[in-house]
């Protein structure tokens, strides 16, 4: 902690993230409110460098292992990147099975993220006097909370279905250019249905919603959602209704909203529309859509408008390049610091017509904002709820979390429907021509946001491979123009009540799902010596 003038305090939070490498946070606090923030990613393994010169399919094995939490999502987009580069033809079953697998990974992630990573902060001592604190403790206390254990343990169920099709979860590579490796049998289908149904009853309906999926899915507006919460005792007592009451009660709807500008790359394809995958035909074939929502305007997503800026990242140069031209040349952080660089994350930016290269938030919040755009094809998801709430109460931690939770019943319905669409007697794979050169683009929505690969093939090997993760979009640093990354921006305006326990910063970071634990160091501004170490989460 450094006091730079009478009111301003510099606070360093280290480490702040533990999901894709470590994350540290520095914030400037003025009159008890954050006025500036820097996010610092602390770990580098260099997968993009390793992939150069390797087999065109190396990304199928390598990229799922970038992140053990959304490995299935990495596989999904890595495979479509090669599909587009090799110009494969995909049978309907292949697309359907890929959709099911991707959705099952996201379904397991929703309760695990909510209970194990986010909700345990709701019982922080800061809220000891809040209404319903005891009830929050009873539900959300780590390990022993009545909702914590089933949420975490039952999360294993949806990925059992992943294993039926992909052999195992995490870290399968069963999606391959031209289709999938498996050829399921009748009992694979019936078993998958039974497993999903068990999870629906035990967690999704009985504990989380307190009603049927069908009833919940009728909710389309903020008013209807509030009405739904108190419609009957079972809904009132559900984890979702309790979260809404409690989070509003402790003010999580008041800060952490960030720019309010969003990017979704979309995921899940309508099989009849994407038999020959191309980057250009992608938007139209999607079921949950791609799009940009910036300054109140809906725009189509175009991957050619994506660049990565390394001005403040530990990589050589200061430029901003499209990923097909992207370079990854690491430098020693000690040298980088001298050049005003402070993180291993690059800063992805999107060229919004008329606005220039801007930072955009990705994730479930972004997806559901884009889902509210009424213009769509008949097979595409339209869902007005989150956009309606955004228009009425604005972006915040609360709404970011609600958007994530809202996807559980929605993706369950889709997954269940796709299982019925598998034609066991049709093909699951069409052997592709292995083209020696080409460019590919593959993307998806991991549970935590837009995830994409850009691949360049030359002479039957990878000439360039660039991955942009949702964590990079959200926790990436400032760019050459000094614009904050989306998470940095979201910290601004956050109140910090207790410098020794800035739980508010933890809420913001964890609402993006890029943070598990926080440690706070405070430094004496004059001597640079550490004065004390504080815990962000003080409930245990």
């Amino acid at each position: 902690m450094t006091v730079t003038d009478s009111k301003t305090i510099d606070l360093e939070v280290s480490p702040l993230g533990r999901v894709e490498g470590d994350l540290d946070l520095r914030v400037k606090i003025n009159d008890g409110v954050v006025t500036e923030a820097w996010t610092e990613a602390l770990m580098f393994r260099g997968f993009e460098i390793i992939l150069r010169g390797k087999d065109p399919q190396a990304g199928l094995i390598m990229t799922p292992r970038i992140c053990g939490i959304c490995g299935g999502s990495h596989l999904y987009k890595a495979c479509f990147a090669i599909d587009t580069a090799w110009k494969t033809v995909l049978p309907p079953n292949a697309i359907t099975v890929r959709n099911i697998a991707q959705a099952c990974e996201t379904l397991q992630s929703i309760p695990r993220w909510f209970y194990a990573l986010f909700a345990i902060d709701l019982v922080n001592k800061k809220y000891a006097k809040a209404k319903d604190y005891d009830e929050a403790m009873r539900r959300f206390a780590p390990f022993v909370g009545e909702s914590y254990e089933p949420g975490v343990v039952l999360g294993a169920k949806p990925v059992e279905v992943y294993a039926i099709f992909g052999g195992q979860w995490p870290h399968s590579s069963f999606m391959i250019p031209g289709g999938v490796m498996c050829a399921p049998t009748l009992t694979d289908i019936t078993r998958s249905i039974a497993i999903l149904d068990y999870w629906r009853q035990e967690w999704l309906e009985n504990r989380f919603l307190g009603c049927s999926i069908e009833r919940y899915r009728q909710v389309q507006t903020w008013e209807q959602l509030l009405e739904w919460c108190d419609e009957n005792e079972s809904q009132h007592k559900s984890d979702l209704a309790f979260f809404i009451r409690y989070a509003m009660g402790i003010g999580l709807d008041k800060y952490g909203g960030g720019y309010g500008n969003y990017l979704a790359m979309g995921t899940f394809f309508e099989p009849s529309q994407y038999a020959t995958p191309t980057a250009d035909g992608r938007n139209r074939a999607l079921i949950t859509r791609a799009g940009v929502y910036s300054d109140g305007t809906d725009l189509p997503f175009d991957h050619m408008r994506v660049t990565e800026d390394v001005t403040h990242s530990y990589f050589r140069g200061t430029g901003s390049l499209h990923p097909w031209e992207g370079v990854t040349e690491p430098i020693d952080p000690a040298d980088g610091r001298a050049q005003d660089k402070y993180t291993w994350a690059k800063a992805p930016r999107y060229d919004v017509p008329g606005q220039g290269f801007v930072p955009l938030e990705v994730g479930p919040f972004a997806r559901q904002m884009v889902a509210g755009n009424p213009e769509r094809e008949v097979w595409q998801d339209y869902d007005p709820l989150i956009r309606d709430i955004y228009s009425k109460i604005g972006p915040s931690i609360f709404l970011r979390v609600l958007a994530r939770l809202h996807e559980a019943p929605k993706y369950y319905e889709m997954t269940r429907r796709w299982i019925d669409q598998i034609d066991l007697h049709d093909r699951f794979y069409i052997k592709p021509v292995e083209r020696e050169s080409g460019k590919g683009f593959g993307a998806t929505e991991a549970a935590r946001g837009a995830l994409a690969d850009w691949i360049v093939l030359e002479d039957n090997k990878i000439a360039n491979y660039q991955v942009i993760t949702p964590t990079a979009w959200n926790i990436g640093p400032k760019d050459g123009k000094g614009a904050n990354g989306p998470m940095e921006e979201s910290f601004i305006g956050a109140p910090v009540e207790d410098l020794h326990d800035p739980i508010e910063l933890g809420h913001v970071a964890r609402s993006f799902d890029s943070c598990i634990v926080c440690t706070v160091h405070a430094y004496d501004g004059k001597t640079g010596e550490e004065m004390a170490r504080f815990k962000v989460n003080g409930m245990m």
Binding site: G21, D22, F44, A94, A163, V180, V517, N537
Partner: protein, 323 residues
């Protein structure tokens, strides 16, 4: 009560996430019912900040005993040996590993990265990564080949990318319940009880393997045949219990038509993912698999294969895993 500390170095979290799928015991039962006192884990530990620093300091100073130290992730030594490519709580993670391994009774490397360095070590190894006590198949790694823990044991490796949840939970339980003495380790420091059988053992395609009947393509092609001959499966040369205990209680790679990648072996990824090596069996003289089932040689393999093909029954040439 055995104390356990779990840290992540250059990790993807895959082994932690894998462990969440465990049943008998579940990860929560493991920590609340079976004599393991979890001092801290980056994803699960509710104690944070000051409490974590105090735990680490007390362990390093010896004020509190550290019975089991679990490391997940590769040891990142770059750039130029400084370790600054992986910082943790203000220091290079390498320094924490040095301090904590010197006070731990038993050190467990979970997953391929901690055990052998894993994928980040593939050329050009831009992060200068290595395993705790091996660099791929070469003994040494970060701690050195002669290193032993306070209990006199080398690093116990539970490889796999990721490790199966049961491998982690059963070995942790074994150590926590005082049965470390029953563990025999193989040449790559894997517990023999888990890593003596092959992935091949229990594979539903063994009948096809026996008669040298190949799966010729993925998808519907995997309704018959063995993945070893054309599609690069390493099941007969890879030590694991994947097909004895299955994954996610449901299946395994090979059962689902997915060639085994050999991820419990220190050489993983084989051939460093070089062009032409992925999902394709590498051959000599155009026809004979370069890597043969453990213990076989090319000459006797050829003779056995010829006999097997001649004796192949009709069912082995038809679909077996039918709708």
């Amino acid at each position: 009560m055995a104390t356990l500390l779990w840290l992540q170095a250059g990790a993807c979290s895959g082994n932690t996430i894998s462990l969440l799928q465990a049943e008998e015991p579940t990860v929560i039962d493991l920590l609340t019912d079976f004599g393991v006192e979890l001092l801290w884990h980056p994803s699960l530990g509710p104690e944070l900040g000051e409490a974590v620093h105090k735990i680490l300091d007390d362990l390093v100073s010896g004020a509190k005993p550290l019975d089991i130290f679990v490391v997940e992730g590769t040891v990142v030594q770059g750039p130029n040996g400084s370790g600054r490519m992986d910082m943790f709580a203000g220091r290079p993670m390498t320094e924490w590993i040095t301090d904590l391994t010197s006070v731990a009774s038993i050190v467990v490397g979970v997953g391929d990265c901690a055990a052998y360095g894993g994928l980040p070590t593939v050329a050009p190894n831009p992060s200068e990564s290595t395993g705790l006590q091996f660099h791929r198949e070469v003994k040494g790694g970060y701690l050195g080949k002669d290193w032993v823990s306070k209990a006199g044991l080398p690093v116990i490796n539970i490889p796999g990318c990721p490790a199966h949840p049961d491998w982690i939970s059963q070995i942790v339980m074994a150590v926590a319940t005082g049965r470390a003495g029953d563990l025999t380790l193989d040449e790559y420091h894997r517990p023999s009880t888990l890593f003596t059988t092959f992935t091949h053992n229990g594979c539903t395609r063994n009948g096809f393997f026996e008669y040298k009947q190949s799966t010729t393509e993925f998808g519907q092609g995997t309704r018959t045949g063995c993945l070893f001959y054309e599609l690069g499966c390493r099941g007969p040369m890879t030590h694991s219990s994947c097909n004895r205990i299955l994954w996610n209680r449901q299946s395994s790679k090979t059962r689902a038509g997915h060639p085994c990648l050999g991820c419990t072996e220190p050489q993983f990824p084989f051939d460093d993912l070089m062009p032409g090596t992925i999902f394709k069996t590498q051959k000599v003289s155009g026809v004979i698999p370069r890597d043969l089932p453990t213990g076989a040689d090319h000459l006797t393999y050829l003779a056995a294969a010829a006999a097997a093909r001649i004796s192949a029954p009709q069912w082995s040439k038809e679909d077996m895993f039918v709708v």
